[in-house]
Symmetry: C2
Subunit: 495 residues, 2 copies
């Protein structure tokens, strides 16, 4: 739901040869971001039916879209201006829709909105645009609107990741949080430590470093940032398949060996390699669910702890903070899961963003402490919780109990999490959609315009899920819990 919309009553016919004009734009589009987005928009509008009707003389013909981008800079990063104005006049010769945006990424959102105004007319077999003139002023409520995918519990082929990115752009999500590695597998090539991907499930279930570059570029062209995560010191068992000395011992393999400089050399190597390709302001260092018992049951590490006057909890803090320093040395701000804040919040680097997941009520504590926060409380925004309904996704408010405007600004946004234990290429899209789209509206639309109860959202979200289906995205019915099959025959828009 856009921030502001006015519309009229005129129907336009969309030209089969829709033109892109950039007259007056300050943006040269050297990378082809705008041009390709325009072509994708036209392709998606024309995808569903054969368009071969005659359209002259019926209604005014929309000849093209004029896009004026004010900034020549197309570096995508956190906080980039995503606002846009989309006007579709009802008259003009030639008749052009007008998009104005500060950056090309605002223009991409405008093109997506434009595509959703277009409809196939079954009688005339043409594309129509109803209710012109339109004026849409729009910008996101939160700068961080994320989706997590997990390629460690199950490998996701590159084409599948790309199709997830495509579908994110349809609902204006702008951060793909790539939980690359976990205890089960290490699928990514790390040039600095080439044995790390020995921890992959199989020869084929791997990403080359160039694949990662390709994914980043693919996402950037769609206005989606890539947030890379290595989750340390827990959730890192697979690292030791290639470098067993990262394990406390051959029989006790998690968390990473806190006592060894090699551990931090490897982290430094990974983050150094990351910094060459993941240009997002943030890197995610995990830090959750750390069971430190291997550190005290392994004599070598136990001695090291005593020697350094640390208990297990000190060592956990030491590890997280040392990893933070390495990330900062590579130019990153850090995101850590909330346990780091809950255990030693005042020790975290001030550039830390705390990633909530355990429950609600954390964000208010984080911002009260002056740190930034991303909201992903698992009871509402974990997509792998199949009993979490779209209504729950919609109503989950990141600013609950945060009233101070300065503190509100510290909530960067939220993220829905598609953990991969029971997710692979077969079911990822239907488990993400349509629930992620409900959260996407919560994160995009001004608070005042959000629905107070979900009854008024059903029709709109249902239409959006049918739109996703038309575009080949396997979004599930709204009815039932997450990823439910339709319970009986019926129309897409009522299920």
């Amino acid at each position: 739901m856009p921030a502001s919309v006015t519309r009229g009553t005129q129907t336009l016919v969309v030209s089969k040869d829709l033109k892109l004009s950039t007259a007056g734009s300050s943006y040269s589009d050297g990378k082809g971001i705008l041009k390709e987005a325009f072509q994708r928009m036209v392709a998606v509008v024309e995808l569903d039916h054969v368009i071969n009707g005659s359209y002259y003389g019926v209604s005014p013909v929309l000849a093209g879209v004029r896009v004026v981008v004010r900034s020549p800079n197309d570096e995508l990063n956190f906080g980039v201006d995503e606002s846009y104005k989309l006007s579709v006049p009802a008259t003009g010769n030639p008749l052009y829709a007008q998009i104005e945006a500060q950056t090309v990424y605002g223009a991409l959102h405008a093109l997506e909105t434009f595509s959703q105004l277009c409809n196939f007319d079954f009688n005339a077999r043409i594309i129509q645009l109803h209710s012109a003139p339109w004026t849409i002023l729009d910008k996101p409520r939160f700068p961080y609107r994320g989706l997590l995918i997990d390629t460690s519990r199950h490998y996701l082929p590159v084409p599948v990741i790309k199709s997830v990115i495509d579908s994110m752009a349809f609902s204006k999500l702008n951060v793909l949080h790539w939980h690359i590695v976990d205890e089960q597998s290490f699928p990514l090539q790390i040039p600095s430590y080439p044995k790390l991907w020995n921890g992959a499930y199989s020869y084929s279930e791997r990403y080359t470093f160039d694949d990662a570059i390709d994914i980043v570029q693919y996402a950037e062209k769609r206005g989606v940032n890539l947030l890379a995560e290595i989750d340390v010191p827990g959730h890192a068992l697979s690292w030791g398949v290639g470098y067993p000395s990262l394990w406390p011992s051959a029989t006790c393999k998690e968390p990473l060996d806190v006592s060894s400089d090699f551990t931090f050399q490897v982290i430094n190597g990974i983050l150094s390699d990351f910094s060459k390709i993941f240009k997002f302001k943030f890197v995610h260092l995990g830090g959750d669910e750390v069971n430190t018992s291997c550190w005290t049951t392994t004599p070598r590490i136990k001695s090291w702890l005593i020697q350094h006057g640390m208990n297990e909890s000190d060592a956990y803090r030491y590890f997280v903070l040392r990893a933070q320093k390495i990330a900062i040395s590579h130019g990153y701000d850090i995101i850590n899961w909330e346990e780091t804040f809950n255990n030693f919040g005042d020790k975290l680097d001030r550039r830390t963003v705390v990633h909530n997941w355990l429950g609600s009520g954390v964000a208010q504590k984080v911002v009260a402490a002056g740190l930034r926060c991303i909201v992903s409380n698992q009871d509402k925004w974990y997509l792998d919780h199949l009993d979490a309904t779209w209504e729950g996704f919609y109503m989950n408010e990141p600013l609950t109990n945060i009233y101070n405007p300065e503190q509100q600004k510290l909530v960067l946004g939220g993220e829905v999490c598609m953990w991969g234990e029971h997710i692979d290429a077969s079911d990822i899209q239907q488990t993400i959609w349509p629930r992620a789209a409900a959260a996407a509206e919560r994160l995009w639309t001004p608070f005042e315009k959000l629905a107070k109860d979900t009854g008024s959202v059903t029709a709109r979200l249902s239409r959006f899920r049918c739109l996703l289906n038309q575009r080949g995205v396997a979004a599930a019915p709204l009815a039932g819990y997450g990823r439910s099959a339709p319970s009986e025959p019926g129309s897409c828009v009522t299920q």
Copy 2:
């Protein structure tokens, strides 16, 4: 599994600029079928990873594929020659793979097989082809290898149908049985009776006549025939939304009114329109699950029955046979569901193909009666039966208890059925695959080469399902029943 395979030990590098040569071919490819299939094959081989390695001097480079098609005729229909020979030599300068086929459709199968010989090399970042020289001689065991989709219980957007067709070609299925209409909705435009699609679920959940042409052409370019079905006289309630006089009465709406000539005029109109676009030798007229009680409880029809000396069962036969005559008048052979055979098999037109679904043991009776048969026994080959395992799909033998070679020839093949009560765009691919691929091997591979127990198939089918995932098809894990989510983290190839 091809009919015959020999291979060697040489690894080749596949050129990044693979050429298509048709030197010596009698086929002009005026429609671009071969050229487009070649481009699709290259795209699918290169889809999964960034290919930017240097490949000179490593191994012999495969420069292209030479395709020799003997027949200039590219009309796709039942019984077209689908055989091919694929040779990949280990030496040559330039080094070309060789495809020989009687028709372009055999060549398409060869290109699909070729694509499955190609693998991404993660070290060199190039495409390799192992185990050359290859000689593969191949042809299908059965000429009819079908998959049913149902667009009445749930509408399937055109892009979804196209992606199903894409995936059929990957496993060499060659008939898409389009169960277009049923009691719940009538989504297709019928020019002769333009109110019929008033029975669609909604304005958007419809196919124009041109969409149907587009689907047929899309399928033909992939070697897939379109079998259109109208299921009469039962399963046709939705017809009456546009033409209520097709109903026995406003309160008793199925089966179609047997007493009215208008009913048969409409059938004639539909089949006349069909004959313009569905060029497959067969049309499917349904005929299953007919509850004739509305005919005797509706006074007008009851009188007609008495007047014509028919009981309900006579009228059912009369309806089916009259519909058959209409289809034959439009040049079709007919396929009917098995109830027609079970009830009045000796009265059916001799051009009838009986479509088994109720259980096993029917095919032997049908061919003993000299009629042709397609096997779809629901206990094994109904994809909507989620408790039907891939092992059951694999082991279901169409020629069970049929020993006479002449009778064996009357079994045209088999079909797996994806009924749509609980299937829509969100879950169709994962419910079809990988189980349909298990049946596809049963229908393609010579009987002698089929596995005697499924243990030896698991690895091959598992690899094929991972290949589908790489190509963006949401094929489900093998483990568990149909459409199971993965039960735990793990590799694609072991789940």
